[in-house]
Every structure is written in structure tokens, then in C-alpha cells.
């Protein structure tokens, strides 16, 4: 099993947490995983890109045209990061407008739950529901429970499940 995944957003949207959840599933399944993430100034409201390589890889970065799946938390990043996608790759976008890929207004759903930052897990739920990712619903629930701060576990699980249903 080999899968290359892109997570794209802007600082403060929970790109890194979403990346860690997916990576944790791989670790729990005993699959090798490498991720890369942006830190420092890039996080101050600017564009943030994480990449994940699941399976037998040596380095975390993804070459143009090689990503199997992409999760966009910020649709304005599409022109910058969509070129990383393979032709026919699975594209999931948090957006309230029409356009390419499978779209879901994850921010609106998260806002209804009282916290806009939960849009990251709503989008993950949507992608898992489409069977685009290497992982299952149950495996993600387990990883979220493991990684979320105890106070917010319930809320995080609900956000993920809201994504599964929508």
C-alpha cells in the first residue's frame, strides 16, 4: 500500500492536527509514514501545506503530479497546490462555492457546532466517507481520540462524524 496525500490550508486552520491524525492511523496500522509540515512565519495566517507519504517511502515531499488525494481547507490555495495532484486524484475542498473536486462547506458545519476550527475534521470525515483514503472510519475515530486534548475529544469526534454524514 502506497498513498501520497496533500493537506492544504492557511495558518490557524488545523492543517497540522489533521495531518497528525492521518499519520497516526498509519502508525497504528503498522504502515510506515512520513509527513512534512510548515512552521514559523508560514503559520502566521499564510498558506500552509502538509504532505503525507504512506507506505515504503524515504522522504516526505511530494513531486508535481504525484499526489493521490488532496484535502483543501482553503479553496484559494487550489492554484498553488492542485498541480501536486495526479490526474484523476481525489480532491476534497472546504468551500461554499461550486467548482472542481468534491466540495463541502465544512466551515459552516463546524460553525454550527460552535467552533470553526473543527472544519478540518469535517473535511476528513467527508474524504473517509468517499473511501478515498487508505484508512477507515473506525481507525480515524481511534486516532482522533488518541490525539485530541481530553477536553475536546467529544467535539472532535462529532465533527468527524458530521463530515461522514454530509
Amino acid at each position: 500500500m502506497k498513498q501520497q496525500i496533500v493537506v492544504s490550508g492557511i495558518g490557524g486552520q488545523g492543517v497540522l492536527f489533521l495531518t497528525r491524525v492521518i499519520a497516526q492511523v498509519a502508525v497504528d496500522q503498522g504502515i510506515p509514514v512520513l509527513t512534512s509540515e510548515s512552521h514559523g512565519m508560514a503559520q502566521r495566517g499564510g498558506t500552509v501545506l502538509s504532505t503525507l507519504k504512506i507506505g515504503n517511502f524515504a522522504a516526505p515531499l511530494i513531486r508535481t503530479g504525484q499526489a493521490d488525494v488532496a484535502l483543501f481547507l482553503w479553496d484559494a490555495n487550489l492554484p498553488v497546490h492542485q498541480p501536486l495532484m495526479k490526474e484523476g486524484g481525489a480532491l476534497f475542498i472546504n468551500s461554499n462555492t461550486e467548482g472542481v473536486g468534491e466540495r463541502i462547506d465544512a466551515s459552516a458545519i463546524a460553525r454550527e457546532m460552535g467552533k470553526a476550527v473543527l472544519s478540518n475534521l469535517v473535511l476528513l470525515g467527508r474524504a473517509v466517507n468517499s473511501n478515498a483514503l487508505f484508512c477507515t472510519e473506525g481507525q480515524c475515530l481511534e486516532a482522533i481520540e488518541k490525539l485530541a486534548p481530553p477536553k475536546f475529544v467529544e467535539q472532535n469526534l462529532q465533527a468527524f462524524q458530521a463530515g461522514l454524514r454530509n
Partner: protein, 606 residues
């Protein structure tokens, strides 16, 4: 043995604990910061007593670790590449004088650069300083190198550098943990004045000994380039790579189904490079592709007539060796087709100060009060004040006050009116390198305004403690070194403090400060802009307010978006009005003063 998903920096931190490191000192800086944070978080896993500290700057961190090593203990100094410039003085001398207990200097480089003022290569610094340097290609390898690096350091009594890069530091990988060692060493400093106080008379001898050691280290069997032999289908060709470039190359060869078709070398220790390895490449291969970040350190030492690399122009001389860049270099070397769709160069949304950031209010007031001012600034989140046109220079840690003084002196000697010079410096940077510069400005009678942006943390790197908070690494309580008496002791006679959220008051103080700098008996003026960082949940909670609202009076002039640049404000292009992103606005209200039509109003308390 357990396996955990670890960030590269966390893996290195755990490696220090596993190796029995007892003193670790650092100054935060991306991409190195999480290394010491990891040691702090994992201190309970250490067998022996462990001292960790966020030092005031990198030179001090290095000297603290060095002295601990003189007592026989294992120690580490941690910094980013430009931090090594600050620590350069003791670093260069330590190469000659050596260490006792194992000492690692962990210097994280930032090819790209993603979050730095340059792309300098620590391996080249090590070549110049004659210090062995190790170049890990992954989080797991970086951790695995720590203990043997300490052993190497102890065998030769030399400081050894571990040089991870951004893509190693901030990658995550499943990493195997091993049981931490407890060397249980008691401090035992044996004075050796000829060595530890070496005067110039001793130095030629020490230099000679250093050169002899380097020759031996170059041949240490455990640190030789690792070879994966090809099947002979590319006879006479070799690939040589180090660090993350090696890992990227491995993936690229697999993707192109070329694994095992060409001889491939991974260089673990780029300096000192084994002369036998250099000979082997010279004698066995007509063409060698050298892939390394960021400078041609290996390529230079190889001096191979058929080398393709940065010196020959086959590999770009700057920037990260991303998989796309590597592909082109490899394709040219092996005679493959270049890729059809070139990588997109766009960068996406530029970084900006967070919604509600007190620095934004301070910068807006500074620019508004002194539209023709000169604004030297420094390294930190507040560098982003350039988006508000209130930052004109950013050089290196602490340079802003000295630069401000330099601007003043240059204008003053022309006679006539001098422009107002407003320097901005963060609280952490002030302690790091601002104090000597402030003293100098006072002594040289530089008439400048220094605004210390005090948000009570080192925000850019994720919130490490600063000396005036009374908290040390790991939350330990310590003495608080207040900024104001320090400024006073430096001879400054105008010192005021104000929350920049209170814009009218802040601007009034700026004008008063300007008067002071222009008064016959005046001098340097210091204004402390004091408001906590909003990344701190406690600060956010204490000022909880509803998002601001845009009324019908909005003219659609865009000033609040363009000039104030708060990420919570944007233009609604269809309706030609400003729009508030309720998810991001903290209701700080500092944008209210910006609107010429008074169309931004408070949202009312929740």
C-alpha cells in the same frame, strides 16, 4: 522496543535523552525550536539529572553547554543556522581547544529558506571551523546519530555538529525508541590552563593536533559514505547525496523504476570527507552527480573532473532541492526526458500578523504618527509589520537599534532636519541582542525612538519564555528581569509604557517621544508597547468580545483591508463593501480607528 510517530525535532530531543545528555541549552528559532522543547517535555524519561534552559542567545547557550562538557558530562547546544553566527566566536575557538564530555552543537539549516534571513550552509561553516558535521536524511536517522555522535565527540575530545534541515526537523516518521542511558557522571573539572585558557603561544600546537584528529575522524569506519551498488547498467556513473536530498533521491529512483541501476552513495559526514572516498570516485567513475543542500560542500572536496552539481551548474545554486528540482537534475544526468508539467512557483497567501495582534495596532499608530519616518525593525512575528509599511529594514537579531542609530548619525551629519527614526524590537529579541545596542545608542547620543513590542513571549517560535516573565524552561519559576529598569540603567531618560490597543494614548506618547529625541537635552526615547500575544489562550479569553460589524456606511474604499491588513477583514467584491470573517475576528476593535467613514463598529460584548 516501542515505535512512535515523531517529528524530526522531537526525535532528536529524545535522542539526547537516550544518549544521557545532562545539559541542553538553546535559543529558539525555526526550524530548530522543538528540539529543546522535546527535551523539556521528556525530561522525566532521563535517567540522570538534566538541566535544560532557554538561554538569552545562542552564544550563551553554546558557552553553557561547553562548560558542562568541560566537567565531563554530555551536553548539547541547539540553534538554527543563523544562530550559529551569534555563537561563532566560541564555536571557532572550541574547534582548537576541544571538549571533555561529549558535546553536540545541533544546528538546524533552512534550505528554501522557509523562515530565515538566509540559506547559509552549516556544513560549510564547519569546514571553515574544522568541526566534524553529520547530515541526517530523516527523523529516524537523525535520532540514531545522536548517541554515536556523542561517542565520536568523546573519542576525539571534539565538538561535533549534527545538522538537520527543515525537512528533517519538521517531518514526522515512525521512530523506534531505545532505553535511555544513564552514564551517571559526576562533574569533575580538571583545570588545564594551557588548553582551556590557551594564549596565542599554544594555538599553533592545538591547531596541529586538530588537523591530526580530523585526518583520523575522516577515516572513522562508522561514518563513511554508504553505498548501494548498481547493476552495471549505468557504468561509470555515480550518484552522491546527503541529508534529505538523499532521501528524496531514493524516492525519485523508485518512482522512475531506476532503483539499483546506478551506484548510489549516501554521505553521512560531509566534513571531514574521507580521502579514500574521494580517490574511489576519481578512479572509478567518469561522471558523478552530487546532490546536497545548500552549498557545494561535498562537491568542492571531491574536486572530481566529471562532477555535476552546484559548481558545474547542473544543480541550482540556491533554494531547496525539492523532488521536482531533483528530477530535472537526475533526468539531465541520466539522459531522461525532462518532465512535461513544470512545478508551479506561486507561494499562495502571504503571512500576516494574526487577527487582534497588538503589533498591528502599534505599527498602524507608528506609520500614522510619522508618515515620513524611518522604521528599522528586527526578527520575529513583527517583521510582518512590513505589510503595514512600518518596517523598512530587517537584518539579524538585534540589528534594529544599531541600524536606527546609524540612520540617525548619517542624517545628522548632513545638518538640517533629521527624520524621525522609530525602531521596533520584540521583547525576546531585546534581551537577545538589543541591550548592548541600546547602550551604544545612548552613549553615541543617537536621537531615536525605540518601541519595545512586549507581548510577553517569543511568539514567532511558538511561545518560549522571556526573561521578564519569571518563568524558565519547563515552567520553572525564576527571577523576573524587568525591562523598564534595564532600559533606565542603560541611560535612557524617556521611558513610557502603553497598551497599543489604546491607540490615541499610544500615538500621544509617540509624539512626546519624538519631542524628547529633538529636545536640546533629550536623547533616546523608549516606549514599551505592552499587550499579551493572542496565541496565548489566556490572553484571548481575558479580552473576549464579539466580532466587529460593518455598517451600511461602508464606502468600499478598502483601506481597512489594504492598510490595516487584518486577516479577519476582506473585500466583498460583489457588493463592494468590507466583510468581517466572524470565525477569525477577536473583536479587539483596533480596526475601528482605521475606517474613514466610521463604518466599523463594535460587535457588542458576548
Amino acid at each position: 522496543m516501542t515505535t512512535e510517530l515523531l517529528m524530526g525535532n522531537d526525535a532528536i530531543g529524545r535522542g539526547l535523552i537516550e544518549a544521557g545528555c545532562q545539559v541542553a541549552a538553546a535559543y529558539p528559532g525555526t526550524p530548530s525550536t522543538e528540539i529543546l522543547q522535546s527535551v523539556i517535555n521528556r525530561r522525566d524519561e532521563a535517567v540522570d539529572p538534566l538541566h535544560v534552559e532557554w538561554s538569552v542567545n545562542e552564544k550563551i547557550a553554546f558557552e553553557v553547554a561547553l562548560a558542562a562538557s568541560y566537567t565531563g558530562k554530555r551536553s548539547a547546544a541547539v540553534m538554527k543556522q543563523v544562530g550559529l553566527n551569534v555563537a561563532a566566536d566560541p564555536f571557532m575557538r572550541t574547534a582548537y581547544l576541544g571538549v571533555k564530555g561529549g558535546m553536540l552543537t545541533i544546528v538546524a539549516d533552512d534550505p528554501g529558506p522557509h523562515s530565515s534571513q538566509n540559506e547559509q550552509d552549516t556544513r560549510l561553516f564547519c569546514l571553515q571551523g574544522r568541526v566534524p558535521v553529520l547530515d541526517p536524511s530523516s527523523p529516524a536517522e537523525a535520532k540514531a546519530m545522536v548517541e554515536p555522535a556523542f561517542a565520536l565527540s568523546e573519542k576525539y575530545e571534539m565538538n561535533v555538529v549534527l545538522r538537520p534541515t527543515t525537512r528533517v526537523c519538521h517531518s514526522r516518521q515512525s521512530v523506534a525508541l531505545t532505553t535511555p542511558l544513564g552514564p551517571d557522571r559526576k562533574s569533575e573539572f580538571v583545570p588545564d590552563t594551557g588548553r582551556f585558557c590557551a594564549t596565542p603561544a599554544f594555538l599553533p600546537g592545538l591547531h596541529k593536533a586538530l588537523n591530526a584528529k580530523l585526518e583520523q575522524i575522516a577515516k572513522e569506519p562508522d561514518w563513511q559514505p554508504k553505498m548501494v551498488e548498481g547493476d552495471g547498467s549505468n557504468k561509470g556513473l555515480a550518484l552522491v547525496a546527503s541529508g534529505i536530498a538523499y532521501a528524496n533521491l531514493v524516492d525519485l529512483l523508485a518512482e522512475l523504476e531506476l532503483t539499483g541501476t546506478v551506484d548510489l552513495y549516501q554521505v553521512l559526514m560531509p566534513y571531514p570527507l574521507n580521502p579514500d572516498f574521494i580517490d574511489t570516485l576519481q578512479n572509478s567513475y567518469t561522471k558523478v552527480l552530487v546532490l546536497e543542500e545548500t552549498y557545494p560542500v561535498i562537491e568542492m572536496q571531491l574536486a572530481h573532473p566529471g562532477a555535476a552539481g552546484k559548481l558545474s551548474g547542473a544543480v541550482p545554486k540556491e533554494g531547496e532541492l525539492t523532488p521536482d528540482v531533483l528530477y530535472t537534475a537526475l533526468a539531465d544526468f541520466l539522459g531522461l526526458e525532462r518532465q512535461q508539467n513544470e512545478a508551479v512557483q506561486a507561494r499562495g497567501q502571504r503571512p500576516s500578523l494574526c487577527p487582534g495582534c497588538p503589533h498591528r495596532a502599534a505599527f498602524y499608530s507608528i506609520k500614522k504618527t510619522f508618515p515620513d519616518g524611518i522604521f528599522p525593525s528586527d526578527i520575529g512575528c513583527y517583521t510582518l509589520g512590513m505589510n503595514l509599511e512600518a518596517v523598512h529594514t530587517v537584518h539579524c537579531m538585534g540589528a534594529c537599534i544599531s541600524q536606527g542609530a546609524g540612520f540617525y548619525q548619517a542624517y545628522r551629519q548632513d545638518g538640517g532636519a533629521t527624520p524621525t527614526v522609530v525602531v521596533t524590537i520584540g521583547d525576546s529579541t531585546f534581551f537577545h541582542a538589543g541591550i548592548p545596542a541600546l547602550i551604544n545608542a545612548v552613549v553615541q547620543d543617537a536621537r531615536i525612538i525605540v518601541v519595545i513590542l512586549d507581548n510577553a513571549t517569543t511568539a514567532m517560535t511558538g511561545g518560549q519564555p522571556v526573561p521578564h516573565m519569571g518563568i524558565a524552561a519547563g515552567g520553572r519559576k525564576t527571577k523576573a528581569i524587568a525591562i523598564m529598569p534595564l532600559v533606565k540603567a542603560a541611560g535612557v531618560e524617556f521611558i513610557e509604557s502603553c497598551d497599543p490597543y489604546h491607540q490615541a494614548r499610544f500615538e500621544e506618547l509617540l509624539r512626546k517621544a519624538d519631542e524628547h529625541t529633538r529636545h536640546e537635552n533629550g536623547g533616546v526615547a523608549v516606549l514599551i508597547a505592552k499587550h499579551g500575544c493572542l496565541m496565548d489562550p489566556a490572553v484571548r479569553k481575558a479580552q473576549e468580545a464579539a466580532p466587529v460589524q460593518i455598517t451600511e456606511d461602508c464606502l468600499g474604499c478598502g483601506q481597512c483591508v489594504e492598510i490595516f491588513e487584518c486577516p479577519a477583514l476582506s473585500m466583498d467584491k460583489e457588493n463592494e463593501t468590507a466583510r468581517v470573517d466572524g470565525d477569525r475576528c477577536h473583536g479587539c476593535g483596533t480596526c475601528i480607528a482605521v475606517c474613514p467613514a466610521q463604518a466599523i463598529v463594535e460587535g457588542g460584548m458576548i
